[in-house]
């Protein structure tokens, strides 16, 4: 059973590399590989190739999944800063 509240403040992003203000397509893609399952892109590619990614998802336990602990309720439309973080996959 999880002990942390579901609405705890968001965690700090794993890294803070800036994109120079350009549309961060590559950065967003890389976040796909790292944000959720803690795998780098090579590991993620291997999991896709081996067909083991789906097995990973089957093991998700909602009671303990950190994504839910880093989720906070929205109080309105995102500010410009929040929207930029959203685009980068870092909200």
């Amino acid at each position: 059973m999880a002990q942390e509240p579901a609405r705890a403040p968001a965690r700090e992003p794993a890294h803070t590399k800036e994109s120079g203000g350009k549309v961060p397509v590559g950065l967003v893609l890389s976040e796909l590989a790292t944000l959720f399952i803690g795998k780098n892109e090579q590991e993620l590619s291997r999991m896709v190739y081996e067909g083991t990614l789906a097995q990973h998802f089957e093991r998700i336990d909602f009671d303990s999944h950190p994504i839910l602990y880093s989720t906070k309720p929205a109080e309105g439309p995102p500010t410009d800063e929040e929207f930029e973080h959203f685009l980068r996959g870092r909200n």
Partner: protein, 222 residues
């Protein structure tokens, strides 16, 4: 910051007898990944026609907002989570919606609206391991769009396209939820045809629909 109309904090069960605490969050990449891994398989396996079969929220969440940046419009998603009423800690994703701010209002392109680009509610099968209660979520997701429209200064106006893959059932759903059908004769402010499956809410309709959800905006009290 001006005061915002809050999102709902509870949702009705399908039978209307009970409420379940929910919260609305700006969609994270992780939410899309969880949805794709845990909820989407139930959608894809559904026996009935569903417009969201085969959708990939990982792509919708990351790529589509970037595409709208090129059009100088803000596009973002919200995730809806249901909280376990017994411990108020466990949460499960129960709805996803992708919106475009300040999109030309289909019924009157001189005005802006919120366009509901993608909307998906978890089927009952996906909720069986979580409190086991089917929730009434479609209206909640539409309310998120109306609330966003109100909070971004477009007076609750929304519009959407009812995907043909949803069949007659989806058309009935939007009609049942109080949206008006855009007449097929009205040309769209876009380079494609009006197929007669567009729906909208003007500010009057939106005010009525939004008011119906006001009781659900109150903080959950158990």
């Amino acid at each position: 910051m001006a005061s915002m109309l809050p999102f709902v904090q509870s949702a009705s069960t399908k039978d209307g007898r009970e409420r379940v605490p929910v919260f609305v969050s700006l969609m994270q990449v992780g939410h899309a990944l969880v949805w794709h891994g845990v909820v989407q398989p139930h959608i894809d396996a559904a026996a009935e026609p569903r417009a969201d079969k085969g959708w990939d929220w990982r792509i919708l969440r990351t790529m589509f907002p970037l595409a709208e940046v090129l059009r100088r419009r803000r596009c973002y998603g919200y995730s809806v989570f249901a909280l376990d009423r017994h411990n108020m800690v466990s949460a499960a994703p129960v709805g996803m919606v992708l919106l475009i701010e300040r999109y030309p209002y289909l019924a009157n392109p001189s005005q802006d609206s919120t366009f509901v680009w993608f909307l998906s509610a978890a089927p009952a099968e996906a909720l069986k391991s979580f409190d086991g209660i089917p929730l009434s979520l479609g209206g909640v997701l539409l309310d998120i769009a109306i609330t966003t429209s109100i909070n971004t200064g477009t007076e609750g106006r929304i519009a959407l396209h009812c995907a043909p893959a949803g069949g007659p059932r989806l058309l009935k759903f939007y009609e049942k939820n109080g949206l008006a059908r855009l007449p097929e004769a009205i040309a769209l402010p876009a380079p494609w045809e009006n197929d007669g499956r567009y729906f909208h809410a003007d500010s009057t309709i939106a005010a009525r629909l939004s008011a119906a959800y006001n009781p659900y905006r109150e903080p959950w009290k158990g």
